[in-house]
C-alpha cells in the first residue's frame, strides 16, 4: 500500500499530469470518431515516447489506452455507430435512449460506468498480477511455449466468423513475423537481398498500417451522411438516480467480472467483452424484452465490461511478457524500446515502475471520467470533423511515426505493405486481429519453443510431460477442437435455416 501511495505521489507532478491529460483527450477524440481507434492513437504517439523517461512514456500511453476505450460511447449513443469495436453493445440501448430524449442520461451512465469498469479492472490487476507473477517465476521455456500456443489458439478461434479464415490470418501474421534474423541463431530469413528486411518488419508501422490504411480506403466507399442527433446532451449530476444506481449493482458487478476475465484471456479483449456482458445482462434480467428499447441496463453492462478489460489485459503483459491484444503488443514494444523485458522477473525486480503504471492507470481513469463529464460538448463537436480531411492527415502522421521508429523510409514502406495486406484480407473477410497477434506472438513462441527443444535435445516430450505446460497444450487442443465443432454446427444450422 505504501509503495502504491509513493508511486501515486511520484506521478502527481505537473508534467506527468499534463501528459496524462493530453493522452486522455487524444484517446477520447480517437475513440469517439468512428474509424479511428485508441490503438491507432497509441501507435502514432509511440515514437514521441522514445526520448522520454519510462514513467512518463507509460503514463502517456496508458492514458491514450483508457481514453481510447472510453471515447467510443459518445458516437455509439449519439450517432448509433460505435467509435471503437469495444462499444458495439453500447449502441443497442444507448442510441434508443438518445432517440427517446435521454441522451444526457445515457452519456452520464456510460461515463460513470466506464470509470467503474476501469477501477475494477485495475483493482483485479493489482491483486492478481503479483500472485500470477509468483506462479510465473516457476515457468520455464516449456511453459512459456505452451502459454503462447494457447494464446494463439484463443485468438484464431474467436476472432472471426470462420475458424479456418481466423487461423489463416494467424498463419499470415506468424509468417510475417519470420522475416529477418531468426531468433537464437540469427540466420537471415526471407530478406530477398533487401537490407531493410534484415531486422524484420518493425512492429509499430506494421500494426498501424494494418488498421490505418483500411480506414482510409473504407472512406472511399459511398456511405450515408453521419447524422448527429440534435438532442439535449446536458448531463444533470451523473445522469441517473440513486435508485437506478442501486438497481444496477448486480449488473455492474457481473459485467465488471466478465470484462476483467475476458481481458486476461489473450486475444479476445473489449470487442467481445461488451457484447458478452450485454447478452448475459439481458438473459439475467427480469425484463429482457425491454433490452434494445433504450434502458440504462444495456449501457451499464457494455461500458463496465469494456473498460474492465483494460486492467485484465495488462496482467499477462506484465507478469508473463505476453501481449493479449494490439494495444498491449504496442506496450510490449515500448518496454523493449526502454530496455525493459516484462515478465515475472521484471515484475519482482521493478516494483517501482510496475506500481507507477498501476497509479498512472488509476489517475488516467479519473481524468477520463472528469474530462468526459465536463467536456462532453467538445467531444460531440469532434464527431462533426470531416473524415475526408482527417484521415489523410492521420496517414501523414502514420508515415512520420513509422519513419521515426528507425529514422528511415523503409519503415514507411512497411506501413503501406501491411496496410495493403490488411485491406485486401479484410475485403475477403479474413479477420485482422489474428494477423497482429500471430505477428507478435509468433516470434515469442518460436524463441521459447526452440530454446525448449535445444534443452530437450530435439524432443517434444517435455512440453507434454511437465504439468503446467501439459495442461496448456491440452487446453489449446481442446479449445481448437471445440471451436471447430461449434463452427461446423453453426454452419449446419445456417444451412438448415436457408433451406
Amino acid at each position: 500500500m505504501q509503495l502504491f501511495l509513493s508511486s501515486l505521489a511520484q506521478i502527481m507532478t505537473p508534467m506527468i499530469l499534463l501528459y496524462i491529460l493530453l493522452g486522455v483527450v487524444m484517446g477520447l477524440v480517437f475513440g469517439a470518431i468512428p474509424g479511428l481507434t485508441g490503438t491507432m492513437a497509441i501507435a502514432l504517439c509511440l515514437p514521441l515516447t522514445f526520448g522520454m523517461e519510462p514513467t512518463m512514456a507509460f503514463a502517456l500511453l496508458i492514458a491514450l489506452y483508457i481514453g481510447g476505450i472510453s471515447g467510443g460511447l459518445v458516437s455509439a449513443i449519439l450517432i448509433n455507430i460505435p467509435g471503437t469495436p469495444s462499444s458495439v453493445a453500447t449502441t443497442f440501448d444507448g442510441a434508443p435512449m438518445a432517440r427517446n430524449g435521454q441522451a444526457g442520461k445515457a452519456l452520464g451512465a456510460g461515463t460513470f460506468y466506464s470509470l467503474v469498469g476501469n477501477i475494477f479492472g485495475i483493482a483485479v490487476m493489482i491483486f492478481v498480477a503479483p500472485m500470477l507473477a509468483q506462479v510465473a517465476l516457476k515457468f520455464g521455456v516449456y511453459e512459456y511455449t505452451a502459454v503462447s500456443l494457447f494464446a494463439l489458439s484463443l485468438v484464431s478461434g474467436l476472432a472471426g466468423k470462420s475458424v479456418t479464415k481466423g487461423l489463416v490470418s494467424c498463419a499470415v501474421g506468424m509468417l510475417l513475423g519470420c522475416f529477418g534474423a531468426a531468433p537464437i541463431d540469427g540466420y537471415a530469413r526471407f530478406t530477398f537481398g533487401i537490407s531493410g528486411l534484415e531486422a524484420g518488419f518493425a512492429s509499430v508501422p506494421a500494426l498501424v498500417g494494418l488498421y490505418a490504411l483500411k480506414e482510409l480506403l473504407a472512406e472511399a466507399k459511398p456511405s450515408g451522411k453521419v447524422n448527429i442527433l440534435d438532442v439535449d446532451t446536458h448531463i444533470k449530476g451523473l445522469g441517473f438516480s440513486k435508485k437506478e444506481f442501486v438497481c444496477q449493482i448486480p449488473n455492474m458487478i457481473r459485467s465488471a467480472l466478465i470484462g476483467a476475465w475476458i481481458g486476461i484471456l489473450p486475444g479476445i479483449g473489449g470487442a467481445t467483452a461488451n457484447i458478452m456482458a450485454y447478452g448475459i445482462a439481458k438473459k439475467r434480467s427480469k425484463y429482457p424484452e425491454k433490452f434494445g428499447t433504450g434502458i440504462i441496463d444495456g449501457v451499464v453492462a457494455s461500458e463496465t465490461a469494456n473498460n474492465a478489460t483494460i486492467g485484465g489485459a495488462m496482467i499477462p503483459l506484465l507478469t508473463l511478457g505476453i501481449p493479449g491484444d494490439a494495444v498491449t503488443a504496442i506496450l510490449l514494444g515500448t518496454f523493449t524500446i526502454h530496455g525493459l523485458q516484462p515478465g515475472p522477473l521484471f515484475f519482482s525486480q521493478n516494483y517501482d515502475l510496475i506500481y507507477t503504471i498501476f497509479a498512472a492507470m488509476i489517475v488516467a481513469s479519473v481524468v477520463t471520467f472528469l474530462v468526459q463529464l465536463f467536456g462532453m460538448r467538445g467531444f460531440i463537436k469532434v464527431l462533426k470533423l470531416p473524415k475526408h480531411i482527417l484521415l489523410p492527415i492521420v496517414i501523414v502522421l502514420c508515415v512520420v511515426g513509422s519513419f521515426g521508429v528507425n529514422n528511415r523510409l523503409f519503415d514507411a514502406w512497411v506501413l503501406i505493405i501491411f496496410g495493403l495486406i490488411g485491406y485486401i484480407m479484410s475485403k475477403f473477410d479474413y479477420p485482422l486481429a489474428p494477423i497482429i497477434l500471430g505477428f507478435i506472438l509468433g516470434p515469442i513462441t518460436e524463441t521459447y519453443m526452440r530454446r525448449g527443444l535445444q534443452l530437450s535435445k530435439g524432443s517434444f516430450l517435455p512440453f507434454l510431460t511437465r504439468p503446467i505446460s501439459g495442461v496448456f497444450i491440452v487446453l489449446t487442443v481442446v479449445f481448437i477442437a471445440l471451436t471447430i465443432i461449434s463452427s461446423i454446427r453453426k454452419s449446419k444450422r445456417a444451412e438448415a435455416t436457408n433451406l
Binding site: T164, V168, L175, L217, L391, V399, G404, G419
Partner: protein
C-alpha cells in the same frame, strides 16, 4: 465474356482468395527450404517457417474447398433467380477512388526523399482530400491551405521538438 468472368469471380471469390494465399504459402515454403544455416538440425531457423507454411497450405486448401462449395450454391441460386452481376456506379467509383488512394500513397513515399517531406506531404494531402471529398462540395483553396499548413507544422514540430530528421528535399530548411 467480360460478364461471365465477373460472375465467376463473384461466385468463387472466397475460393480464389484462398487459392492465392495457398500459392503465397507455397512460395514461402519453397523459400524456407533455401534458408542458409551453418549447422543443420531438426529445429533450426527453417523449422518454424516450414511448420507455418505447411499449416497455412492445409488451411487454405480447406478454404478453397469450402469456397468452391459455397460458390456452387451461390451460382445455382443466382441462376435460378436470374440475378445478374450488379455493380452500382457508386461502388465502381469507390473502387476507383481506393485504387487511386493506394497509388497516391505509393507516389507520396517515392517523392518524400527527392522533394522533401513538406512538399511531398502537401501534394499528397491535397490529392487525397480531393479524392475523398464529394464532387460538387469540394473546396480546393481550403484544401491547399490545410495541406500546406499541416505539412509544414508536422515538419517543424517533429524536427525541432523530437529531432526527427525528416527529409528536407528541395526546400532550404
Amino acid at each position: 465474356m467480360k460478364d461471365s468472368i465477373l460472375r465467376l469471380l463473384h461466385w468463387y471469390r472466397d475460393a480464389l482468395a484462398a487459392a492465392v494465399l495457398l500459392l503465397i504459402f507455397a512460395f514461402f515454403l519453397s523459400s524456407s527450404r533455401h534458408i542458409q544455416v551453418m549447422i543443420a538440425s531438426s529445429v533450426d531457423a527453417k523449422f518454424f517457417p516450414i511448420v507455418i507454411c505447411t499449416f497455412g497450405i492445409i488451411l487454405c486448401a480447406v478454404n478453397v474447398a469450402a469456397g468452391v462449395v459455397r460458390g456452387n450454391k451461390l451460382r445455382r441460386k443466382e441462376i435460378e433467380e436470374a440475378i445478374g452481376p450488379n455493380v452500382s456506379p457508386e461502388e465502381k467509383s469507390a473502387a476507383i477512388k481506393s485504387v487511386l488512394s493506394i497509388v497516391s500513397i505509393i507516389v507520396y513515399l517515392v517523392l518524400i526523399e527527392p522533394l522533401g517531406f513538406v512538399i511531398a506531404s502537401a501534394l499528397y494531402l491535397f490529392v487525397q482530400i480531393m479524392l475523398l471529398s464529394e464532387r460538387g462540395k469540394r473546396n480546393p483553396i481550403l484544401y491547399v491551405v490545410i495541406a500546406v499548413v499541416v505539412s509544414a507544422a508536422c515538419y517543424l514540430f517533429f524536427r525541432n521538438v523530437f529531432y526527427l530528421m525528416l527529409p528536407s528535399g528541395l526546400l532550404p530548411l
